[in-house]
């Protein structure tokens, strides 16, 4: 076994991950090679030194600051409209449901609510088409004029829900664009191989975005690209050597 064979295995050897013969051959080489022995000794000193680094205690007032931030966040949360709070609770589960299903459920809820809060007039329902119909007609989704104070605006809810996926996609696209700019700034510090890996992976992810025809797959593709760009910018070799987590 040569030095070139042993060096890549030293970390695993020192961490006790090489058992049986695999450990024996490394140990045998170390007995006869002063250079590798020195490297192993250095790495062991480093490993022990890292493990012995002193614990860093947070400032005593940190918990109070966190409580203050949570209190502020709770006050802000309480001011949000109830349907928005409900929507935020649903957001993490959105991938499990089709956006159309969510819009349909919202429409049913709105109709049920109206039927219990005020007399339903057929003409009103017809005048306010479902989000899908509204989207297919390309009607602008800007919020209509505000209703009088105290009167719930059901038109706002349905229009806003219909526009939500497109807004989310646009936000993902903006974020990815910003990250691409940031990646261009750090790119000069990469090796040629890393740049090539990065370019290939970004092209692949971009193609996935272009291929997606619906909002949900498109959002998923954008999220994959954002995740990779973040990794590439800050995690260096983890993302740049392997193309990141696929």
């Amino acid at each position: 076994m040569t030095c070139d064979d042993v060096r890549p295995r030293l970390t695993a050897y020192l961490d006790g991950e090489l058992e049986g013969d695999r450990g024996t051959v490394v140990r045998g080489h170390l007995r006869t090679c002063a250079a590798c022995r020195q490297v192993a000794t250095d790495e062991a000193t480093l490993r022990d030194g890292m493990r012995a680094l002193p614990t860093v205690d947070p400032p005593a007032a940190m918990w109070a600051s966190i409580q203050a931030q949570l209190a502020i966040a709770e006050v802000e949360e309480s001011k949000r409209p109830s349907w928005r709070r409900a929507l935020s609770r649903w957001t993490p589960m959105l991938p499990r449901f089709a956006v159309g299903g969510l819009a349909a459920a919202a429409a049913v809820t709105v109709l049920w609510w109206r039927s219990h809060r005020e007399p339903v007039q057929i003409s009103q329902v017809v005048d306010h088409p479902s989000p899908e119909i509204q989207a297919s007609r390309d009607i602008p989704t800007a919020t209509p004029s505000s209703p009088p104070f105290g009167a719930p605006s059901f038109d706002d809810v349905t229009a806003d829900l219909a526009a939500e996926p497109a807004r989310t996609t646009a936000t993902y696209a903006e974020t990815a664009t910003e990250l691409v700019t940031l990646a261009a700034e750090v790119r000069p510090g990469w090796t040629d191989e890393q740049r090539a890996t990065f370019d290939a992976r970004v092209a692949e992810l971009r193609a996935a975005v272009d291929r997606a025809t619906d909002e949900r797959p498109r959002q998923r593709a954008w999220r994959a690209m954002i995740r990779y760009l973040q990794q590439a910018i800050v995690r260096d070799d983890v993302a740049l050597a392997s193309g990141g987590v696929h």
């Binding site: 890549p8 030293l10 970390t11 695993a12 020195q38 490297v39 000794t41 250095d42 790495e43 000193t45 480093l46 490993r47 030194g49 890292m50 493990r51 012995a52 680094l53 002193p54 614990t55 860093v56 205690d57 947070p58 400032p59 005593a60 007032a61 940190m62 918990w63 109070a64 600051s65 966190i66 409580q67 203050a68 931030q69 949570l70 209190a71 502020i72 966040a73 006050v75 609770r89 993490p92 940031l182 700034e185 750090v186 510090g189 973040q230 910018i233 800050v234 995690r235 260096d236 070799d237 983890v238 993302a239 050597a241 392997s242 987590v245």
Partner: protein, 211 residues
């Protein structure tokens, strides 16, 4: 040591500073496992939230401290805990609570560095400015040089070294936190240690060690 006995102070001012009626704890027994702790935190029980904070504060703060540096560590650690308490309702238990919290910490730290657009805390010159370690103080001097070398490393290497070597987590835990394969984790640790060895050079050797 009873960590809950630590004084926590109350810097709240204005209307937020007043006493707040708390939900009555539904768990009479001690909060012995993560599920009970999570459930109590979700109900907004102050005792459980404080317990969770004290359970993880040192590791969260320590990781942030060594990844983003001393000056920003508190800001990042606070952000992590606020996120933890606000996102606990959506925690599905796909991974251990600790893994989830450490992942939030590493991601928040790395995002913080990305937002700040700073890849390195200090330049390589920062190491040469450190005094050569006198034999009697070699251990503490070595610790200082290790901290300085850590700050010079690329953030990805820093993260794996902090998780594996400083915090003593297994490769499997590190891989779950960094969302990469165990093999990738091992190879990154090997490269990161090699970079540290290069940076530290003779500092790793005692006075009588030959090169």
């Amino acid at each position: 040591m009873n960590e809950l006995a630590e004084p926590i102070g109350s810097p709240l001012t204005g209307p937020l500073a007043g006493p707040l009626a708390e939900p009555r704890p539904r768990i009479a027994a001690a909060l012995t496992d993560d599920n009970e702790l999570i459930a109590a935190c979700r109900r907004g029980e102050a005792r459980a939230m404080e317990r969770l904070y004290h359970q993880y504060k040192r590791r969260v703060f320590g990781m942030a401290h060594r990844i983003v540096g001393a000056s920003d560590a508190e800001e990042v650690a606070q952000e992590v805990f606020v996120r933890i308490f606000r996102a606990l309702a959506n925690f599905r238990g796909d991974s251990a609570l600790s893994t989830w919290i450490y992942r939030l910490t590493v991601n928040a730290s790395l995002s913080h560095l990305a937002k700040r657009g700073r890849r390195h805390e200090v330049g390589d010159d920062g190491l040469t400015d450190l005094p050569a370690p006198p034999p009697a103080e070699r251990d503490s001097a070595l610790a200082s040089r290790i901290e300085a070398a850590l700050a010079v490393l690329p953030p990805g290497y820093r993260a794996i070294l902090v998780l594996h070597d400083v915090e003593g987590l297994s490769h499997e835990e590190c891989a779950a936190i960094l969302e990469c394969r165990v093999g990738t984790c091992k190879s990154q640790l090997h490269k990161a240690r090699a970079r540290m060895r290069d940076l530290l050079g003779d500092s790793l050797r005692g006075p009588g060690d030959a090169r």
